[in-house]
């Protein structure tokens, strides 16, 4: 932030400065709100709204302060005069504003003109009075001294200093209701402390060295290949992205109609065309979609290799299941899929089988990973391409419909009642929510 403010104060390229007449006194080096906004717009090529926002943020943090109405830190994009805060008072200097200083400031205000303290300031004043009662004489004395020293300055300087101080305290002790801009998440405060703990000891460096050595040996892919992959991914998925290409029948958030969600529910009888297309993008997409997975299972059944998918599913359950169930699950999988003569024996190559059986002696969560990967690759390279070429898939693609777009309502103010759907937490098994959608959005074939 300082970077921006410093460049703003640059005499040649900065904001236009002029002397400002304020009541009777003349204040040099003042800028108007509109100048600030204009300069920001030009320098950073922003829209006006954004420039105003950025300017407002600068004022809120106390880098620019208003001369005329120093009560609130707001940027008014008109002729209101502003000035740049001195670096002494910048928030990034980070020394905490001490209670004592605040007390002195409030005391000064109190003494200078009786009763110009605002309500919350009065409260703070009283509170501080009770808290630092022992040092109160010091406070009053300091306040009087500072006022006396100030009287010897020119009126213009006095005004400026008063405004600067006021802004500083507005930032550091905001009035109630105004969020403090200095607030931080609690964690960051302890950041410095935790960094001290993890000092650069020998083992830290040894870890780094080991990591670097391993990383040097890794195979990398050329940037061009990777970047091309993004392009193809984005273009492939573009039409499926509701935020980029919109969605049919209508985005539920816009039209208040949850027909889109009904049609794309996890278990629906007739999936939409886009959905069926997605199954062709990658094997993972097919497996992640319950409807797709079910169709794939049917297909495998016809080819008498359904046990592959069941085995894969069982392995997934093992990997993500509860720790306590690991031994029983492993045993069940072994009995059903791997034991010689098992009911649904899966065809794994002998080396992987040997390794797996070896590992089964001490079953742990990842013991079936090798076998699972082998079967996954088998399905991906063999069964999956055949599925995509099969009549079954082609039939599904042809049957799947593109939903009609809901007609735009004639009276835009009549809001459709938003129906709530049953929470997944309620039901033991997820059930398709009974939708009470409006007209349109049926499974019309395009």
């Amino acid at each position: 932030m300082e970077r921006v403010v410093v460049s703003m104060q640059d005499p040649d390229q900065g904001v236009k400065m002029r002397s400002q007449r304020l009541l009777v006194t003349v204040i040099p080096h003042a800028v108007t709100g509109s100048d600030v906004v204009q300069w920001l717009t030009q320098k950073f090529c922003l829209s006006e709204e954004e420039a105003r926002h950025l300017g407002a943020v600068l004022v809120q943090h106390g880098y620019i302060y208003p001369l005329r109405d120093p009560r609130s830190l707001v940027l008014r994009p008109d002729e209101t005069p502003y000035r740049f805060q001195t670096p002494y008072f910048w928030t990034s200097t980070l020394w905490p504003a001490a209670e004592l200083d605040y007390a002195i400031y409030l005391a000064k205000k109190n003494i200078r003109k009786q009763g110009t303290l605002v309500d919350y300031e009065k409260e703070c004043y009283d509170r501080l009075h009770t808290k630092i009662n022992h040092a109160w004489d010091l406070v009053l004395m300091q306040a009087r001294e500072q006022l006396r020293a100030a009287k010897q300055r020119r009126k213009g300087d006095r005004l400026v200093i008063a405004c600067q101080e006021q802004t500083y305290w507005l930032v550091n002790r905001p009035p109630p209701g105004v969020p403090s801009v200095l607030e931080q998440s609690p964690g960051r405060g302890s950041c410095a402390a935790s960094r001290v703990h993890m000092t650069k000891r020998a083992d830290f460096y040894k870890q780094e060295i080991e990591y670097c050595r391993r990383a040097l040996g890794r195979t990398r892919v050329k940037s061009s290949v990777c970047l091309e992959a993004y392009l193809s991914f984005c273009s492939q998925r573009g039409p499926h992205d509701p935020l980029v290409s919109g969605c049919l029948p209508s985005n539920p958030w816009i039209s208040d109609d949850d027909a889109y969600w009904v049609m794309n529910a996890p278990t629906v009888v007739a999936p939409t065309k886009l959905r069926v297309e997605r199954w062709g993008f990658s094997f993972r997409e097919l497996l992640e979609d319950p409807v797709g997975r079910a169709h794939f299972m049917d297909f495998l059944g016809k080819e008498f290799s359904g046990e592959n998918l069941s085995f894969w599913e069982a392995c997934e359950d093992l990997r993500y299941g509860a720790q306590a169930q690991v031994p029983t699950l492993v045993d069940a999988v072994y009995q059903q899929f791997l034991a010689p003569g098992a009911a649904r024996w899966v065809n794994i190559d002998s080396r992987t089988m040997e390794r797996t059986l070896e590992g089964l002696r001490q079953p742990h969560r990842y013991v079936l990973d090798d076998a699972q990967l082998h079967i996954y690759m088998l399905m991906k390279k063999d069964s999956y391409p055949r599925f995509l070429k099969s009549d079954m898939y082609k039939g599904l693609l042809a049957e799947a419909g593109i939903p009609l777009e809901t007609k735009k309502r004639v009276f835009p103010f009549s809001r459709r009642p938003r129906h709530s759907s049953p929470s997944p937490a309620l039901l033991p098994t997820p059930v398709e929510p009974t939708a009470a959608g409006g007209p349109g959005g049926g499974d019309g074939v395009a």
């Binding site: 950073f44 709204e49 950041c191 460096y205 670097c212 290949v225 935020l243 969600w261």
Partner: protein, 409 residues
């Protein structure tokens, strides 16, 4: 060592060099050995080399890192924006706020979507965790945690439970129940235990495992039923602030970002760090995988978001602008990966075109910093939570080429 007195002139073979010499008793790690005088002297001076070895290790680490950078640069033949020149530019976007969820009495710190695409769980500074049906804006559940600053919350994949944690150093799982007689807090399960605040948590593919990141510099994988620690991940030099699970076929890795400016990719099975990236200039607040799983984006306090590719093993894009001077607190991709939404501490949300590297739109509307941002699971909308106590769900309406309005939010 010098004031050790000779008890007897023992003559034999030294335990270290095996030569026949006069031996001295030497204590090494409470074990008594007999060394000849030369070996004893060597051992005495070894202690002096402690500091030197530290320096040499440091220099070795630095030189290896330099070599690594060279290797990475060798395969870097083209920049992303060059490749993206052929891609059509996106049209102007108008994004409107469709739902504003009010109800938190204090800063909203974190949120997560449910797989049913409409429910949201959000947590705030005063310890309240609320589950909303954001479509109807009804609140469905509310839990009050015994601690303040609940910085992490997550929805279980089945939709039947939520996890949350913060300054209490723990992650607790609450099963969701509609039974009015039951108090949700009664069924709470304390799963994770860290030595510092919990900054992020996420369920893996099932309800039974949870991955957490903490201010004590470690990440950990826990079994929910038993609360057992399954794997822990050490390597960050400072607080870990965020994590994200990879959407890959084998589902074994996750990425974490921390205050040490590093983003590290871990293997969940072995606990090892697979890749690390250190190009940010300040704390990394948020990391999110690209939908294909080959890359991830990170948002940081240095006001930039960066895209790192895992196969090329380097940073491939920086999303920044001179006028953006506040840090990015959270990032997320749209479903196709074309748009990157980033929430900043200057109360705005910037939408970036991932391929071209340019900013598509800026959204206003929040009155305090945006602390969390997530795109819904089916990509129809995104929700942002902020320190102004509200959550806003926004989506996109297409603007027509005639009137060019910028996002109003």
């Amino acid at each position: 060592m010098c004031d050790q007195t000779f008890l007897a002139n023992v003559f034999g073979s030294c335990d270290k060099c095996f030569k026949q010499r006069a031996l001295r008793p030497v204590f090494k790690k409470s074990q008594q050995l007999s060394y000849c005088s030369t070996c004893a002297e060597i051992m005495a001076t070894e202690a002096l080399h402690e500091n030197e070895t530290l320096a040499s290790l440091k220099s070795e680490a630095e030189s290896l890192k330099g070599k690594l950078e060279e290797e990475r640069a060798k395969l870097h033949d083209v920049e992303l924006h060059q490749v993206a020149e052929r891609v059509e530019a996106l049209g102007q976007f108008v994004m409107k706020t469709r739902r504003t969820l009010k109800g938190h009495g204090n800063k909203v710190l974190c949120m997560d979507w449910c797989k049913d695409k409409r429910r949201i769980v959000s947590s705030s500074q005063d310890g309240k965790v609320i589950v909303w049906d954001s479509f109807t804006t009804n609140k469905e559940h509310a839990v009050t945690m015994p601690c303040t600053w609940v910085m992490a919350c997550a929805y279980a994949p089945s939709g039947c439970a939520i996890a949350c944690g913060g300054l209490d150093n723990k992650c607790s799982v609450y099963p969701l129940t509609f039974d009015k007689n039951e108090n949700m807090a009664a069924k709470k399960k304390s799963v994770a235990m860290h030595t510092n605040y919990l900054s992020a948590c996420s369920f893996t593919n099932s309800d039974m495992q949870i991955l957490t990141a903490s201010g004590d510099g470690t990440c950990a994988l826990w079994d929910v039923e038993s609360g057992q620690l399954l794997q822990s991940f050490h390597g960050h030099g400072a607080d870990v602030l965020c994590l994200d699970l990879a959407p890959s076929e084998t589902g074994n890795t996750f990425v974490s970002g921390g205050c040490d400016k590093k983003a590290m990719v871990w293997d969940m099975r072995s606990g090892q760090c697979v890749q690390a990236f250190e190009t940010h200039e300040s704390d990394i607040n948020s990391v999110r995988y690209y939908p294909s799983g080959d890359a991830f984006a990170s948002g940081s306090d240095d006001a930039t978001c960066r895209l790192y590719d895992l196969r090329a093993d380097r940073e491939v894009a920086i999303y920044s602008k001179e006028s953006i001077i506040f840090g990015a607190s959270s990032v997320d991709f749209s479903l196709s990966g074309r748009l990157l939404f980033a929430g900043y501490n200057d109360y705005t949300i910037n939408v970036w075109d991932v391929l071209k590297g340019s900013r598509v739109s800026i959204l206003f509307g929040h009155e305090n910093r945006v602390s969390t941002l997530r795109v819904s699971p089916d990509g129809t909308a995104f929700c942002s939570g902020s320190w102004d106590h509200t959550l806003r769900v926004r989506e996109v309406v297409f603007s027509f080429p005639v009137c060019e309005r910028r996002g109003e939010g």
